[in-house]
Amino acid sequence: MAASIDAGIGAGLEVRGMHCERGQRVLIDALDFDVPAGSVLTVVGPNGSGKTTLLRALAGLTQARVRRVAWRRVPIALRSAAWRAQLAYVGHQPGHKDELTAAENLELACVLQGGPAEPADRSRVLDEMGLAARSQLQVKRLSQGQKQRLALARLALSQRSLWLLDEPAAALDVQARDLLATIVARHIARGGTALIATHDPIDLPGARSAQLCLGLAGALPPAAMHAPAEVLAAARSDVR
């Protein structure tokens, strides 16, 4: 079974017997893993090993059979409103409308994901992302880097406790990667939990993290919890 650091910190996410299929191929079979609250589980593995499918299945976007899922020791159904109230999912797509301005996109996103309603919080995050000056511009006029930071702003405003991030660092420039790291670190510090599917793990100083390797032959048991430095080394070497 997956080792958890110690019972002191409340149990976060428990998944038992997850089974995911994509077309004919069985990607994940009988997968059990735990993600204690306030920690990060990095999901690594070659392309096509089911990283995206695992995250989308957890988010309830794709259908998957799972024997049991518990959040803070309370069993929960993947597609229920209670579960949706806990999670935020960031996929490969931008998730904003080009015809609307950055401010409008954020306002809509906040109502959708139950984020802070006050404009003050939103403008503060826009400042932090360096988008304050262009917040009234239509998104289609922003550069690729600015669009990426808008997506990060939406994530920064999320108050959900479980984050499912699918390749968040892909195609980010160096500055955006640091922003992403600080946002995720702040989320973990607040006691939040995150599952990040990625090829090059994000450098999260001080955050407790574990690793789940999805090989083409199905999931390997998650490595024991240990300091992030070892994880980064292990992740890079293992990726086939």
Binding site: A81, R84, G91, Q93, K97, V111, L112, Q113, Q138
Partner: protein
Amino acid sequence: MSADAVHAGAWAGLVWALRRDLRLAARSAAEVLVVLGFFFVAVTLFPLGVGPDPRVLRLIGAGVIWVCAMLACLMSLARLFAADFADGTLEQMLLSEMPFGAIVCGKIGAHWLTTGWPLMLCTPLVGVQFGLDVTEVGVLLLTLALGTPVLSLIGGIMAALTLGLRGTGALLALLLLPLYVPVLIFGVGAVDAYSAGLGIEGQLSILGAELIVALVGAPLAAAAAVRIAID
């Protein structure tokens, strides 16, 4: 989630989607005008094809206007989900706490306000082409008011089902037009009954019944269809 919290969530979802889609439609007003342009062109073709004889045009007027309204609605259905499906916002709606069915209801409402409603505003202009007098146009507007929401509601289901497919224009028409037949029959039936001096309560009540059934069933079916498309 207590019962009233669910109601609040549902209402908030509907209003959120309605305001959002109306703002998006306002930003790209061209799309709405294109649909109206199509409606005008399609309706004008019939007198050119059938001939200018006023007696004939009066007979077929209501039918032609109704069929062209259905086709115009069909044209604009792609706008309902396709853009949001492509840029990932539809996924975020699925993940919202607010019930997805309510959000879909709001989107379909916005689609009706940007297609059904403008079509009704143009109907008096087009009615003149077919020599319909003011009262007949009035009855026609009444049937369109009851009927065009049904076109958007059932259209929403099929638009969601054909998300992400290529060449959905003809497929949407093939899936939808058979299901539009009852609305067409009773919509035009009311106008014909009125012109023949008969009562129109029967036709309007049936149109109303169809609207209620569609209002209850369609958003849920469309929400399920979106889940199937995103799966």
